[in-house]
């Protein structure tokens, strides 16, 4: 068994989290809260040393880029949340962030997630050089049309809309099935990772 202090801490915390599989208990709660606290502490330290000190405090204390004080003031308005009388001021930094984020995101999201995705459903003659590839592209086109039809709520599903939307359900179910399979794989992978740590690094029973 490895007696390194940090390996012991790590093993104890891993077992603490696993104890939830039996039932909720104080040891699990302690480990969970410790994780949240450490993560936030780590993040705050880095924000201070890597962002605030070099990008704001150092230049301003040397009398350079004084306009940063105005930016810092707007950012500091987030803390008005804690003073009910002036808490409405929090809207100012939120508006700045939202405006900047939305302005940068909207045209690019439309391009990357709608225009390019629609282009990928257009069938080209070159895709049929290999019949299997051609079949895949036809299947994608059918899947996209059927799934979108399923989410078409403006009219009752009657006539030709009915079978197409049913086909859409089949595609959606296949998608959920694939996602579920992948989710199982992911969760098992994480469990293997922790058990390997316990068996190899902590107990030293496998090599």
């Amino acid at each position: 068994m490895n007696t390194d202090f940090w390996v012991l801490v790590s093993a104890a915390l891993t077992l603490g989290i696993f104890s939830f599989l039996y039932k909720d208990n104080p040891f699990y709660r302690f480990c969970e809260h410790l994780f949240v606290g450490v993560t936030n502490g780590y993040a705050i330290t880095f924000y201070w040393h890597r962002i605030l000190v070099p990008s704001l405090i150092n230049p301003v204390s040397k009398g350079e880029r004084l306009w940063l004080i105005a930016v810092a003031f707007i950012g500091a308005l987030y803390f008005t949340r804690f003073i009910p009388r002036i808490s409405f001021l929090v809207r100012i930094p939120i508006a700045v962030v939202m405006g900047y984020g939305a302005g940068a995101a909207i045209p690019r999201v439309i391009e990357a997630q709608i225009v390019e995705q629609m282009k990928a459903t257009i069938l080209l003659r070159s895709q049929f050089i290999n019949p299997w590839t051609g079949f895949s592209f036809v299947l994608i086109l059918i899947g996209v049309v059927a799934t979108i039809t399923y989410f078409f709520f403006s009219t009752e599903r009657k006539g030709f809309l009915k079978p197409i939307s049913y086909l859409g359900i089949i595609f959606i179910m296949l998608g959920f099935g694939a996602s579920f399979g992948y989710t199982v794989m992911a969760r098992v992978s994480l469990l293997i990772g922790r058990l390997t740590f316990l068996l190899r690094d902590f107990l030293g029973v496998i090599h």
């Binding site: 039996y22 890597r50 794989m185 992978s189």
Partner: protein, 288 residues
């Protein structure tokens, strides 16, 4: 309560215990797997394999310790691949928690290569062959800023060196000098690279993702917006196989080692799903 009703009400702790057994036992006697690389993994491997000398591979370590077992082997394999092929590598992270993991992967893989190097030409040297840019925020500024100038976004590297004095970054100045960015993430970060960096600057994007997220990436793979995809621990094992087989890099393969346990765990889960469904249909038939 008959047999089928009992099956419907198996205590979840019994299932956990069985899973625990099928994961632990194969760790003592692993079966040697030779994973066959699927096309998305193979595509990424081939692309990185052919990166020209004057271009770089940018690896964005965008995951945290909670997804380490799935994603860390990908970072190891990509670094081994790049160093074996003498491809220049820049490493960065958009999330603070990725810093320690990125540093660990770099230290480990560089040490592996240094152990075998005989001359300075064989060695992997910081500032010449690779650079660790560290972390900067907010992500949007990093994603768009690197299209203009990497050194402006990262004035200092992770170790505090001024980036404009690093030889690597005098040649690799922005996305134009980057052949592909591979974002390894347990979140939507690879999509950010596609949405912001690719649509604005045309840089190629590869992705390493947790299995949970993998299904979301296939439409982007199909449209060509994502060049290649390493999905989950299985994808990592496939990449490890390619690196060992094609480049003769023989190092510890963490993802491949886990494949035996993974396989048995899947068999048990599939059996439980089948049993659960059979008992459900039997009980439904009985009720009718």
């Amino acid at each position: 309560m008959n047999f089928w009703e009992k099956l419907q009400k198996i205590d979840r702790r019994i299932i956990y215990f069985l899973l625990l057994l099928v994961i632990i036992i194969p760790q003592f006697r692993p079966i040697k797997f030779k994973p066959k690389a699927m096309p998305p993994v193979e595509r990424l491997f081939r692309y990185i394999d052919n990166i020209p000398e004057d271009k770089a591979l940018l690896i964005s370590v965008d995951y945290s310790p909670d997804t380490e077992p799935e994603l860390h082997p990908m970072t190891y394999s990509l670094l081994r691949h790049a160093f074996a092929r003498r491809v220049k590598v820049g490493v960065l992270t958009l999330g603070i928690l990725g810093l320690g993991l990125a540093e660990d992967a770099l230290k480990t893989v560089v040490k592996e290569f240094q152990g075998k190097a005989k001359t300075s030409l064989d060695s992997i040297i910081y500032g010449r062959d690779y650079v660790f840019l560290g972390w900067q925020t907010p992500p949007l500024v990093v994603l768009l800023g690197m299209g203009e100038s990497i050194t402006k976004v990262f004035p200092v590297d992770y170790y505090g060196n001024k980036t404009d004095t690093i030889p690597f970054l005098q040649k690799i100045r922005n996305y134009r000098d980057v052949s592909i960015v591979v974002s390894i993430a347990g979140s939507a970060v690879p999509f950010w690279y596609v949405t912001y960096a690719q649509t604005t600057f045309g840089v190629r994007v590869g992705a390493g993702s947790t299995a949970v997220q993998a299904a979301d990436f296939y439409p982007y793979l199909n449209s060509g917006q994502v060049t290649g995809l390493i999905a989950g621990m299985k994808g990592a094992a496939e990449y490890e196989e390619l690196v060992e087989r094609e480049l003769n890099v023989k190092e510890r393969r963490k993802a491949t080692e886990a494949m035996t346990s993974q396989t048995f765990a899947h068999i048990v889960i599939i059996l439980f799903i089948i049993i659960g469904n059979i008992s459900f249909f039997f009980l439904r038939k009985k009720k009718r």
